[in-house]
Symmetry: C2
Subunit: 187 residues, 2 copies
């Protein structure tokens, strides 16, 4: 899957591995992430498959950069992926829910502490997504040389992040409240 993310970004603009990582983190961190070594490995594979080419830029004061450019074959593969509908839902793996599922066996106070900690983390995340306004998206448009059309879709993914965090916080509040009510009477 990562290969398509990389092809997608390179389809706007030629970039090196390090910058790809940063661009991804700035624009897609609420629905996709990859660490640097994974990105480098994928770039190597994509080049071997002829989807991208690279040139080494020599720098005197800074480290050399290997800049990747998408090929025609790469554009075709990417366009094909874009046009192929997903026939399934992305399955979720949510560690907190796994823990909560088994938490009848844990100390009630410990569970509450953990839920409150997660609430704080999600609250911060929500704030970040909510503050990421149109001007931030415009910054990315310039950096990648994208069009105004892109802004619409990018904002839709940002909006998904906001809704997700709002939903998550609502669930945490509900669950915390239920546990607090229980604790009043018993242990």
């Amino acid at each position: 899957m990562l290969r398509y993310a990389l092809l997608g970004f390179l389809n706007y603009h030629s970039l090196n591995g390090y910058d790809l990582k940063n661009v991804m983190e700035d624009s897609a961190r609420n629905f996709w992430h990859a660490d640097l070594s994974q990105i480098y490995k994928n770039l190597k594979t994509l080049q071997e498959q002829g989807m991208i080419t690279s040139t080494l830029e020599m720098k005197e004061d800074r480290p050399d950069r290997r800049v990747y450019t998408i090929t025609e074959a790469g554009r075709r593969e990417f366009a094909e992926w874009l046009a192929t509908p997903l026939t399934e839902i992305t399955p979720i793996k949510e560690v907190l829910l796994l823990k909560i599922f088994f938490s009848a066996q844990a100390e009630r106070i410990s569970v509450l502490t953990q839920l409150r900690l997660q609430r704080e983390l999600h609250r911060r995340n929500l704030q970040r997504y909510a503050e990421q306004t149109v001007s931030d998206i415009e910054k990315n448009i310039q950096r990648l040389g994208a069009s105004l059309d892109d802004a619409l879709f990018w904002d839709a993914t940002r909006r998904a992040g906001v809704l997700y965090e709002e939903m998550y916080i609502q669930w945490l509040d509900e669950t915390i409240a239920r546990l607090e009510t229980l604790s009043e009477g018993g242990t």
Copy 2:
């Protein structure tokens, strides 16, 4: 992570690999999943580490079953995991959002079709979670020999599934509406 899911279920009741898979699918599919071969491999590792033991039950008409039982060391490791707070949020990887992010480059109609297909899939999922009532949870309580306390936490994870799907459908509706409005004027 899967190891803790397996230990958690075995903490209620001894089970074989095949049944673990089914129990997991029935009770945890909205936040965790694993395929059979992965489960078998993890069970092997857990046994090597002394967290579980196994006995082979010979059957005449059906295949033999290897039934796993949690050890004291296993219970300790599981309890420790339960008590350790998560200091981070589980990062999301959502393929649909990755596609939408790049969809300015796709046919508008194709994007709409894909969003509508996902809406139908999420609608079905929501229905399933909403219909999974208290009686279903009671079934699982009996199957695993769990307590009524567990029902509270299991219902909380079910509720998380409902909220997630409602949120997802809301986002799809919003995004579809935005694209439809755009299409009225232009291409």
